[in-house]
Amino acid sequence: MFKAIAKGLSITFKHMLPGHSTTVQYPTVRLKMSDRYRGLHRLVPAQDREKCVACYLCPTVCPAKCITVESAENEKGEKYPKVYKIDMLRCIFCGYCVEACPVEALEMTDAYELANYRREDFEFTKERLLK
């Protein structure tokens, strides 16, 4: 019995030794997020425009109804999103939009520091999402 207790506590004490802590000193130290982490969205740029073709699948699938798209025709006759907005206050980061995208124009980054002071700042326009 004592043997078992000692074994268990040894694990506990081992964690107290320097270099074995799971806590990181945020914000001076930051963790690397997993590849499949669902953070802030990003619109993927192509050569001279966004990859997005304004097919309206993401606003359709979005359960929180936080995506606004308005399509238009550019000078080459292509369909493009004149407006692309995500309201991060409503977004639930489910990632359905990324899954629905037929042209892989939308992805989710590992950015999770999304706090802000004003409501307007949570509205991510096309320009902000393209960064």
Partner: protein, 826 residues
């Protein structure tokens, strides 16, 4: 009837049905791409392959195979699915994968089938096409890379529209659908191909990239243009009509529409719509609040009524309910001077009918027209004024071998239909030809004279109109005329068509009576399947007649009101949904009336030429912004539904009329359209049998499918001699426009942006005129300038000008005559 078994289910269908029809009957869905309800079977896509026990060894296309007794059909089996999946793979070999940017995505038949069959890979390899998009016209875009060669566009354009824009060209893998010489689409832009394309190969350009199908709210309403009463399904997104959706499930039009119905909706969203009431202050129209405008109008009207009286002039695009309120308002004001739509046109027609048949409406319904054996169309303009009825005539000819006879002063779409016989007369002589046909029937003993009143007097009056005399006068071949009359009398089911409108006001009553006389002699009125179709120009012309928006007692008609106002004998005019200055015959007279009248109120969508002269202008709502009922030219009462909200503070005509009546001390109010409709029934017995809420998707027809005449009275009418000159001008309706509202709609405007005068090649050569040259047309002491349009339609000496464009000033020249004697110079 034939009995067969489909997937173990017993079904009995007519012997003309196909396996596909039979399966549909018992609720079995066979996948199809090239099949369309209103087109002949074609069998292009091979999706509908099924197994038939009696025809073992191969698969049978369900959509082209007629049923036979005892057939045992299997619609799904492993083998069938495998074959269908292969068909899908063949189709996808060269189909571009641009669903995300294709406007059809979401309602695409090919997309749905690919999803159903789970097609994700392809065993075959082929080159995707990179054909240029056909964008040379402003309304219809064709992207042949997406085409699946089902041939629906080719067939609808030929079978239904009778235009024949498209054909298959090239062979094998290179096959594609093209227009003549592959020059791109330039047609009448009815958009039937757009609605029938199962994929995104043919799309409406005004709707390009505007929305996806699933975002759009659909509202079934009735088109606000002509009297055909087509169902239009408004595609609404964010309080704006973005498109007109294809809908062949409901309505009288079977999904058919013309350019006005499909592309003419844009005026509803127009920026120049009136949004606030205007009142004239110090000579300027200024925006005011509703209450003030109503107060000014009410005071002005009641002052005028205490003086020399008020005249009320309405358009025929109000709903029945609004007409009812308008009649109430006239009573409140105490005036008898109430009339609609120029007064002299559709009213004249209905009076002519009333004298002969005792009814004031068409006696048949449009679906019956399709099974007629002989159809007599008076004037070739019927296709232009009521294009979708024209399509029914086309179907009657192609499906049922009907004989079409057109009495016309010019060629047109109708005269080009297969086997159409044209009695080409000098302009203004239609009446003589109808009389001559009546005489032929009487002289040859073909007429059905039982129970006809005034027969002897009528015979005597016709003595002048021998076919030979008339032939000499009009230039029509006498034998052709006689033969046409015989055909009309000999047919079991026959129809006479006559369309009416503001540009055809001359002798309207007489012409209607002559047509009704001929119909009586040919036994048409009251016979099942036959009909005399006298069709009003506007959406609710028939409703206005039914409800009696007409002068009461000694009241003045429209023209008399305007004359009286011009002479200073009327103190106020209240003009609703009309622009008389732009569209009524004799502009000088109308302008004088508007200038001289002490007080005028205009209620319209736009600041029209008439509204600019008014003292008070009320902003009204369009057909898409109101609820109510329209009665179409075949007596069908249909529901109009609100799709969007009115812009700014604009209100429906009904709301404005009620508010004005309230200001004038009438406290009568209704809880809604249903209550008013019930009230209409008390005044108009024919409407009493219907309940507003029970008017279904097909509408209800008052008086039954075949309206029985209440009297059979022959009325002798004689033709006026039209003026004689080197050049004659006739006015009329163009296919692309209807009234003056469509000149605010971008779709029709894109095709016909301005007024023109049309002349034949012979005249053009004699005058040395080319297409697009400016021509001076002078007549009635007025000269106007119009652009020339040269084509093959018109005989020598005849000019045609459409009346829709007020700024062209055509009605300065045209004063209601059948033909205007003009001189033409470059």
């Amino acid at each position: 009837m034939v009995n067969l078994t489909i997937d173990g289910k017993q079904v009995t269908v007519s012997k003309t049905a196909t396996i596909y029809d039979a399966a549909k009957e018992v609720g079995i869905n066979i996948p199809v791409l090239c099949y369309a309800k209103k087109l002949l079977p074609y069998g292009a896509c091979r999706f509908c392959l099924v197994q038939v026990e009696q025809m073992k060894g191969r698969l049978i296309p369900a959509c082209t195979t007629p049923v036979s007794e005892g057939m045992v059909v299997t619609t799904t089996s492993e083998e069938i699915q495998k074959v269908r999946k292969t068909v899908m793979e063949f189709l996808l070999v060269n189909h571009v994968l641009d669903c995300p940017v294709c406007d059809k995505g979401g309602e695409c038949d090919l997309q749905d089938l690919a999803y159903e069959f789970g097609s994700i890979s392809n065993r075959f390899e082929g080159v995707k096409f990179d054909l240029p998009t056909d964008e040379i016209n402003p309304l219809i875009e064709r992207n042949m890379n997406r085409c699946v060669l089902c041939g629906r566009c080719v067939r609808v354009c030929d079978e239904v529209v009778g235009y024949g824009s498209y054909s298959f060209i090239n062979r094998g893998f290179e096959t594609k659908i093209a227009t003549a010489y592959d020059r791109g689409l330039n047609c009448e832009f009815c958009g039937q191909c757009v609605s029938l394309c199962p994929v995104g190969a043919i799309l409406p350009r005004p709707f390009k990239f505007k929305a996806r199908p699933w975002q759009i709210k659909e509202v079934d309403s009735v088109c606000g243009y002509c009297g055909n009463g087509c169902t239009v399904t408004l595609g609404v997104l964010d309080n704006k009509i973005e498109t007109i959706r294809f809908n062949d499930e409901i309505g009288v039009n079977d999904g058919n529409l013309c350019i006005r119905g499909r592309f003419g909706y844009a005026y509803v969203n127009h920026q120049k719509r009136l949004t606030k009431p205007l009142v004239r202050k110090e000579g300027q129209l200024v925006e005011v609040e509703w209450d003030e405008a109503l107060q000014v109008a009410a005071e002005g009207l009641s002052n005028a009524q205490n003086g020399q009286g008020v005249g009320i002039l309405s358009g025929a695009r109000l709903t029945n309910e609004e007409f009812f309120l308008l009649k109430n308002l006239a009573k409140t004001i105490g005036t008898d001077h109430l009339d609609h739509s120029g007064g002299e046109c559709y009213k004249g027609v209905s009076e002519g009918l009333n004298e002969t048949l005792g009814v004031k409406a068409s006696t048949g319904t449009f679906p019956q027209l399709e099974s007629c054996d002989v159809i007599l169309a008076i004037r070739s303009d019927f296709w232009e004024t009521h294009p979708v009825v024209g399509m029914v005539v086309n179907q009657a000819i192609r499906r049922n071998d009907a004989q079409l006879v057109v009495v016309a002063d010019k060629r047109g779409k109708l005269t080009k239909l297969p086997r159409a016989r044209t009695l080409l007369t000098k302009a203004g002589y239609e009446l003589s030809i109808l009389n001559a046909m009546s005489k032929v029937l009487l002289d040859e003993g073909l007429a059905q004279v039982d129970g006809l009143q005034n027969l002897d007097a009528f015979k005597a009056a016709l003595s002048e109109y021998t076919p030979e005399n008339v032939a000499q006068q009009t230039g029509v071949d006498a034998d052709l005329l006689k033969d046409s009359a015989r055909k009309l009398a000999g047919a079991k089911k026959s129809a006479i068509l006559l369309a009416y409108g503001l540009p055809y006001t001359a002798q309207s009553k007489e012409l209607a009576a002559a047509a009704a006389n001929l119909a009586l002699l040919a036994g048409i009125p009251g016979r099942a399947g036959s009909g005399l179709y006298l069709c009003g120009e506007k959406a609710n012309s028939q409703g206005a007649i039914d409800l009696g928006v007409l002068p009461a007692g000694n009241g003045l008609g429209a023209q008399q009101m305007l004359t009286a106002a011009g002479e200073g004998k009327l103190d106020a005019l209240y003009v609703i949904a009309e622009d008389p200055i732009s569209s009524y015959p004799d502009r000088q007279m109308v302008e004088q009336a508007m200038d001289k009248v002490g007080f005028s109120v205009v209620q319209d969508l736009f600041l029209s030429a008439t509204a600019e002269k008014a003292d008070v202008v009320f902003p009204a709502a369009s057909f898409a912004e109101k609820e109510g009922t329209f009665t179409n030219a075949e007596r069908r009462i249909q529901r109009v539904r609100q799709g969007i909200k009115s812009p700014g503070e604009a209100k429906t005509d009904g709301a404005i009329i009620s508010a004005l009546a309230n200001k004038l001390g009438n406290t009568l109010s209704f809880t809604g359209e249903a209550a008013i409709f019930a009230e209409i029934g008390k005044d108009v017995p024919a409407y009493a049998e219907f309940n507003y809420h029970e008017i279904g998707s097909q509408g209800v027809v008052w008086g039954g499918e075949t309206l029985a005449p209440t009297r059979r009275n022959l009325v002798s009418v004689s033709a006026e001699q039209p003026a004689s000159a080197d050049y004659h001008l006739v006015t009329g309706s163009a296919l692309y426009h209807s009234g003056t509202v469509s000149v605010h709609a971008s779709g029709p405007l894109a095709v016909m942006p301005e007024a023109y005068v049309e002349l034949g090649r012979e005249d053009a050569a004699a005058l040395g005129v080319n297409d697009g040259d400016l021509l001076k047309v002078a007549g009635n002491g007025v000269e106007i300038q119009l652009k020339a349009k040269v084509d093959n339609r018109l005989p020598k000496g005849l000019l045609f000008a459409p009346y829709h464009f007020g700024n062209a000033g055509l009605n300065k020249l045209y004063r209601g005559e059948a033909v205007v004697a003009v001189s033409v110079s470059k």
